[in-house]
C-alpha cells in the first residue's frame, strides 16, 4: 500500500518543483481530407479536427482534477499541410487559407496550439512544398495558434541546401511580417533535420504519414524535480549523480504514461508515445540550466557544460525508457534560451554564446531553440547557422532543429518579450563574417557514409 512519505513526495513535486505534464497532443491524419477543390479541403479539415478533438480539452481538464497534476497544454498536430493541400493549392495564398482554417478549428476546440503547417523536403521540394514554405510568413502573421515546421535534412537523405537557403529568407520574411509583435511569428517556426513523426512539442509537432488516423502523444516535463533531487547529492560521485537523475526521470515519466493511457482510454484514441523531455519554462525553479549548475557549473555555458548536458540527456532517457511502454518524439533535455530563466541569466552574464549553444546541441535533445538575434542579420547568415545545425543532426543521427528569431528593429544588448511559456530573451550577437558563397551554391549535401546500412 502507498505510504504517506510517497504521497507527500509526489505532491511536493507538483506544488513546489513545477512537475507537470507539459502537453497532451492529439495527432490527427488529414490525408482523407485531400480534394482538388480548395473550399472542400478547408471544409473537410475543419470538420475532421472539430469532430475528433471536440472532447480533448475537457478530457485533459478532467484528468488534471482526478490526479491533481497540471496538464499545461492541450494541442493538436496534423499531417504536413504541404501533402494535404498539394492537390488544391496552386499558389502560396491558397495555403494561407488552410492555415486560417487550422486556426479557426483550433480555436473552436479550445487547444493552445495546432502544429503541422509543415513540409518535408529533406531531399527535394515539390511545387506544393515550395508554395507552402513561401506561404509561411503570411500564414504565421495571419493566424494565432498555427505552428509551422520544415524538415530540410536527414541522415538518410543528406541536407537539401536549396531548402536551407530558402528557409533563411523565410525566417527573415516571417520576422518582418510580425515585426509589430517583436517578430513573434519566428517563435512558431522550426527548421528540422531528422524530424520525428510523433513529436508532441511545439512548434515542431506534426502528425507523420507513418502514423495511424489519430493518436495521443504526451510530453512530460520536470526540470525542477530533477534539480531538487540533485540538491540532495551535492559533492557525490558521477555514479550517484547519474542514478539520481535516472530515478527521478523514471518517476516523472510514469506520470506522463498514466496521463497518456488515461487520455487514450477516455478519448478512445490509441496511445502513441511519451516524449521524455525535460522542458523548461521561464518560471523560477523550472530550468534545465539550473540543473547544469546543480551538477557543478557556475553558469550554463562554462567549460564542462556540454559534458554535463550529455550525461543529463542520457540519464533522462535511461530512466524514462523503463517508465513507459512506448517512447518517442524528441526525448531528452531541451535547451531553449528564452524559455529558461537560467539560460537567460547565463546569456546576460556573458557565460553563454551562440557557439557554445551549438556545441550543446550535439548532445541535447533538439537544437538551437528560441534564440533572439539582431533583426539586421542577413538571410544567408541564418541559412549558414541552419546548415551547421542540420549537419550536426545528419552526422550524429539525431534530431536537430533551429528556431531563431531575428527581431526586426532591435540589436545586441536589447531584450525581447514574447510572453507566457515563450518567455523573454536578450538578443545575442551573431558571427558577422559572410557565408554567402557557400549558401548560394545550390543543390544538396549528400547523405553521410554511415547512413548506408542496408
Amino acid at each position: 500500500m502507498i505510504n504517506i512519505g510517497e504521497v507527500i513526495e509526489t505532491n511536493q513535486m507538483v506544488e513546489k518543483e513545477n512537475l507537470d505534464v507539459r502537453t497532451i497532443t492529439l495527432g490527427i491524419s488529414l490525408l482523407d481530407c485531400i480534394d482538388s477543390d480548395l473550399n472542400k479541403v478547408n471544409e473537410n479539415i475543419y470538420n475532421k479536427i472539430t469532430t475528433l478533438a471536440k472532447d480533448l480539452v475537457a478530457t485533459g481538464e478532467d484528468i488534471e482534477n482526478n490526479y491533481c497534476i497540471p496538464i499545461v497544454n492541450k494541442r493538436i498536430s496534423v499531417t504536413p499541410i504541404a501533402l494535404v493541400g498539394g492537390a488544391a493549392c496552386k499558389c502560396p495564398e491558397d495555403f494561407v487559407s488552410i492555415a486560417k482554417t487550422l486556426d479557426k478549428a483550433a480555436k473552436k476546440v479550445g487547444v493552445n496550439f495546432i502544429g503541422g503547417y509543415s513540409a518535408l523536403v529533406s531531399k527535394g521540394m515539390t511545387t506544393a512544398d515550395e508554395n507552402l514554405i513561401r506561404s509561411i510568413p503570411q500564414a504565421l502573421a495571419q493566424t494565432e495558434l498555427v505552428c509551422s515546421s520544415v524538415n530540410v535534412g536527414s541522415t538518410k537523405t543528406g541536407i537539401n541546401m536549396d531548402a536551407v537557403k530558402l528557409m533563411g529568407e523565410i525566417i527573415k520574411e516571417t520576422a518582418e511580417e510580425t515585426k509589430d509583435d517583436d517578430s513573434l511569428g519566428c517563435a512558431k517556426l522550426v527548421v528540422f533535420c531528422n524530424a520525428p513523426d510523433d513529436n508532441p512539442f511545439m512548434a515542431g509537432a506534426f502528425h507523420g504519414v507513418t502514423e495511424a488516423d489519430a493518436i495521443i502523444n504526451v510530453g512530460v516535463s520536470g526540470p525542477g524535480v530533477v534539480k531538487t533531487a540533485l540538491e540532495k547529492v551535492r559533492g557525490e560521485s558521477f555514479e550517484v549523480l547519474c542514478e539520481t537523475i535516472k530515478k527521478t526521470a523514471f518517476k516523472v515519466t510514469r506520470v506522463g504514461q498514466l496521463v497518456a493511457k488515461e487520455a487514450s482510454k477516455r478519448l478512445n484514441v490509441p496511445f502513441g508515445i511519451i516524449d521524455l523531455s525535460l522542458a523548461p519554462t521561464p518560471a523560477i525553479g523550472d530550468s534545465v540550466a539550473d540543473i547544469l549548475c546543480e551538477i557543478g557549473l557556475e553558469h550554463a555555458g562554462a567549460p564542462g557544460t556540454t559534458a554535463a548536458l550529455a550525461l543529463l540527456n542520457d540519464q533522462v532517457k535511461k530512466g524514462g525508457i523503463m517508465a513507459s511502454s512506448y517512447v518517442g518524439g524528441l526525448s531528452g533535455a531541451f535547451i531553449p534560451v528564452s524559455e529558461d530563466q537560467g539560460m537567460i541569466n547565463a546569456v546576460v552574464d556573458g557565460a553563454l554564446t551562440l557557439e557554445k549553444l551549438e556545441a550543446m546541441t550535439c548532445v541535447c535533445s533538439v537544437g538551437l531553440d528560441m534564440i533572439a538575434i539582431p533583426g539586421d542579420t542577413k538571410a544567408t547568415t541564418i541559412s549558414g547557422i541552419i546548415a551547421d545545425e542540420m549537419a550536426i543532426g545528419m552526422i550524429n543521427q539525431k534530431t536537430t532543429a533551429v528556431r531563431l528569431i531575428p527581431v526586426i528593429g532591435k540589436g545586441v544588448g536589447e531584450t525581447v518579450e514574447f510572453g507566457g511559456l515563450l518567455g523573454y530573451a536578450p538578443i545575442m550577437p551573431v558571427n558577422q563574417f559572410s557565408c554567402d558563397a557557400f549558401v548560394n551554391r545550390g543543390g544538396r549535401i549528400p547523405a553521410p557514409v554511415h547512413s548506408f546500412k542496408n
Binding site: M1, I2, N3, I4, G5, E6, V7, I8, E9, T10, N11, D62, N65, N66, Y67, C68, I69, K251, R254, V255, Q257, L258
Partner: protein, 90 residues
C-alpha cells in the same frame, strides 16, 4: 475497489479528522487507512479511501472536500490512487 488518496495539509487544530470522516461517512466513502505526520511544522494527513460505494461522484466529493478544507483552514486534496502507484511502484 475505487481507491482514492485524500491528503490534508495545514495547521493542526481540533476536529480535523472528525470533520473529514463525518463528511466521508455521509457520502458513502469507506476509509481504509489513515496516517499522519508533521512536515516542516505542518500537519499532514493521508487517508486511503474506497469510493466504490460512494453516493456522490469523484468530482463532487473533491469539490466539497475542498470547501470543507477551506472552512477548517486546511488544504484538502483528492487524488485517484494510480498516480502514486505508478510513480512509486514498478
Amino acid at each position: 475497489m475505487n481507491k482514492v488518496i485524500i491528503t490534508v495539509v495545514g495547521k493542526d487544530t481540533v476536529g480535523i479528522i472528525a470533520k473529514v470522516c463525518t463528511y466521508l461517512s455521509e457520502s458513502g466513502v469507506n476509509v481504509l487507512d489513515i496516517s499522519q505526520t508533521i512536515v516542516s511544522g505542518f500537519f499532514n494527513m493521508m487517508m486511503i479511501v474506497d469510493m466504490s460505494a460512494a453516493i456522490k461522484s469523484f468530482a463532487e466529493v473533491s469539490a466539497q472536500l475542498d470547501e470543507l478544507g477551506e472552512s477548517i483552514g486546511v488544504a484538502i486534496k483528492c487524488q485517484k490512487e494510480e498516480i502514486f502507484e505508478k510513480m512509486h511502484r514498478i
